[in-house]
């Protein structure tokens, strides 16, 4: 993975010094809260419902063991002994004291980490496919380009005060595991007819109040032009994006108002006008960066049957929580942060340390975070899987539910976030209880539930097969349910099925929805395909069939 050189190290240390000075000025009354807010946001610090929240960047979801240990130590010292992994592959600590934040950032800098641009109206952490570099069908590893974009976007002099936040995701496989089509910019690595590497460029995807799927504005952008073209997009947005209304300030609104073709024409015109002074990525730049992401030194191993004669629970874990690897004899292993009874995406300090140790023993010392709020050990020899399972099981990290209904995505909700209307975590626990029977869960197959506590859609509810949105009704928490969304394979936005339901009815309503699926499915037909085949109507009827309080 990428390693800081002296220049990167100097930069993060200077950033810490700057924020220390800004925090001092704020605490001394020299910077008002209004003046301090954009500065602290650009260093990842929110002031939340109960206490500050610090969002630490995990660029494209890649961590060394020492970095994860540092996160564990920070969680223990400054949070309440745990951290929350987000859909954008970052980590949130929930209880740091404002005055401690400069020290936390200084500690992060000692392990080549930071919280720069994890919030605020600027280019956020660049995310990637968690299967980068190991996926069977990959065209090219997206991570070198993510790191190039990360560096380019870091304290970009022109684009640090955009109309609104700006999220970029890069994928290198046909399957989109990074929700790239609901990002402000989604870049898909591809090869031209002549075999040249480049990107398809999608712009204007996003969730929130007006969910939209990104529009393809360029079918093929050569690698060399990556940064120049990004500058053209960002410049059009920075100049013409709306700043009068926070709810209309995302680039998707600009793309929609101009139309995809109109927006593309502006970007192309800007790009042509600025090409003479635009950055060009040289082959040497790309090669140098690719050098940081070379495959580790795999041993020559053969694929083997590791489940023969083992416990059924191990076999289930192998089936659900491990994935095929490009290299024979290896598997990718999900570390499930979706234990029933736990908060989706949360890991304790002890769990983080155990995963760090495990990564050093069996996976080249690297850990990945995933869009689905789990961790991944990417390169585990198959003959170590049983040992890995035992260790994960002992840590509560082997819940064999990856890809099932209880591998759900949820924002932290009302318990932590000042924006939320509803307590997503309690609903997640209800769902886990309702679907605690693993045989039943496995019979349901792949169903993605995504839940957000408010319209901002941090839990991506629009693109869940089943989406759950918390709404406030006269001070009470109600939940709106949508069906048919997807972010994986093809992107679709779900449709709300009817009136919202009270909190205690959410799990039971989902129970009725999946029963409709069980009754209507063809053999081996996944939930989303049944839904697409038969339409919403029977699900709508089933969902409310026994609902006493539908209103």
């Amino acid at each position: 993975m990428y390693r800081y050189d002296e220049l990167d190290q100097a930069f993060v240390e200077e950033r810490v010094a700057e924020f220390r000075d800004q925090t001092r000025r704020h605490l001394a009354g020299e910077l008002s809260e209004d003046e301090f807010r954009p500065l602290r946001l650009r260093n990842g610090l929110y002031i939340q419902r109960h206490a500050p929240m610090l969002r630490i960047a995990i660029p494209y979801g890649l961590l060394r063991a020492a970095q994860l240990r540092k996160l564990a130590a920070l969680a223990r010292r400054y949070d309440r002994g745990y951290g929350h992994f987000t859909t954008r592959q970052n980590l949130q600590l929930n209880w740091p004291a404002l005055a401690d934040v400069p020290d936390i950032l200084a500690e992060l800098a000692t392990v080549q980490m930071h919280a720069i641009q994890t919030s605020g109206n600027c280019v956020r952490n660049v995310t990637a496919d968690h299967m980068a570099g190991i996926a069977l069908e990959e065209i090219d590893d997206p991570r070198p380009y993510c790191e190039i974009v990360r560096q380019w976007a870091t304290l970009h002099p022109e684009f640090t005060y955009l109309p609104r936040k700006f999220k970029i995701a890069i994928t290198g496989s046909p399957e989109d595991r990074a929700a790239s089509e609901v990002h402000d910019i989604g870049l898909h690595l591809k090869r031209s007819a002549g075999g040249e590497l480049g990107f398809a460029v999608l712009v204007g995807g996003g969730l929130g109040r007006a969910p939209l799927v990104g529009a393809l504005i360029r079918d093929f952008l050569p690698l060399a032009d990556l940064l120049g073209y990004l500058e053209a997009i960002l410049r059009v947005y920075n100049r013409h994006g709306r700043r009068d209304n926070i709810h209309k300030a995302r680039i998707k609104v600009l793309v929609k108002s101009l139309g995809a073709a109109g927006f593309r024409d502006q970007v192309e015109a800007e790009w042509q006008a600025g090409r003479a002074s635009a950055p060009v990525l040289t082959a040497a730049d790309v090669e140098r960066m690719r050098g940081f992401f070379r495959p580790p030194s795999y041993e020559a191993l053969a694929d083997r049957d590791v489940t023969a004669g083992r416990e059924p629970r191990f076999a289930a874990w192998y089936r659900y929580n491990t994935r095929a690897h490009r290299v024979p004899g290896y598997r990718a292993v999900f570390v499930s942060l979706k234990a029933h009874g736990g908060n989706p995406g949360d890991a304790s300090a002890a769990q983080m340390e155990a995963v760090a140790d495990l990564a050093e023993r069996v996976s080249f010392g690297l850990i990945r975070t995933t869009h689905s709020q789990n961790l991944l050990l990417a390169d585990v020899p198959q003959d170590r899987l049983y040992e890995v399972w035992r260790e994960l099981e002992s840590q509560g990290l082997a819940m064999p539910n990856i890809g099932t209904l209880t591998d759900l995505i949820a924002c932290p909700g009302l318990d932590f976030c000042s924006l939320a209307n509803a307590g997503t975590l309690g609903v997640a626990h209800d769902i886990q209880r309702h679907f605690d029977d693993l045989d039943y869960l496995y019979d349901l197959g792949n169903i993605e539930i995504k839940m957000s506590g408010c319209m901002n859609a941090c839990g991506h509810h629009h693109v869940g097969h089943i989406g759950i949105l918390g709404v406030d009704k006269h001070g009470e928490e109600w939940y709106q349910i949508s069906l048919g969304g997807s972010a994986n394979g093809y992107t679709a936005l779900g449709e709300v099925i009817g009136p919202s339901v009270p909190k205690h009815e959410v799990a039971a309503t989902i129970g009725r929805i999946v029963e409709v699926y069980r009754a209507l499915r063809a053999e081996d037909e996944p939930f989303i395909e049944t839904l697409n085949r038969v339409g919403l109507a029977p699900f709508r009827v089933g969902a409310y069939a026994q609902h006493p309080q539908a209103a």
């Binding site: 100097a10 200077e14 002099p157 022109e158 920075n238 002074s277 040497a284």
Partner: protein, 163 residues
């Protein structure tokens, strides 16, 4: 008398905004609308002329005027409105303006000057109450940059993807 930052030094401002007291032959900064509306008066003005852009103004519209302008002021009404960074960058790189490029407005504060300088601003008229000495020091807060910036505003060490 107002002090400003110009080329990394604190200096007395030798320009006046329209509406401030103007001696004959003074160097004056006009709103773009005034430059157009009062064309006859200002073409006969003996002093130096500058123009002030609001965030919504397109710097491209100024192309024909630039040869007779000694200064372009770009307004930052608050710290969050970043349109001026693009305006400045375009004036320097695309429109070839080499006169004084000055950031003005309530959004021009010590925490912005490093970015401003790298977008090509060589002068900053700081918001009222700002500590100019602190702002001057903030110009060298970073020794490193990841992007090419204005020629004379790059910190000592840079790594960016080639031009």
């Amino acid at each position: 008398m107002r002090n400003i930052l110009r080329r990394r030094e604190i200096v007395a401002d030798d320009w006046r905004h329209l509406g401030e007291e103007l001696a004959a032959g003074a160097s004056v900064i006009l709103p773009l609308a005034e430059l157009r509306a009062g064309a006859a008066r200002w073409s006969a003005w003996r002093g130096r002329l500058g123009v002030r852009l609001t965030p919504a103004d397109a710097p491209e519209d100024l192309a024909a005027d630039l040869p007779r302008l000694n200064l372009v002021a770009v307004e930052f009404p608050n710290a969050g409105d970043g349109r001026g960074y693009s305006q400045g960058r375009l004036l320097r790189t695309r429109l070839g303006f080499w006169g004084e490029l000055r950031a003005v407005g309530a959004g021009v504060k010590q925490d912005q000057v490093f970015l401003l300088a790298r977008c090509g601003f060589d002068a900053m008229e700081l918001a009222p109450g700002e500590d100019l000495e602190a702002a001057r020091r903030a110009l060298t807060r970073y020794s490193v940059a990841y992007q090419p910036g204005a020629v004379d505003a790059n910190p000592g060490r840079q790594r960016f993807f080639a031009l």
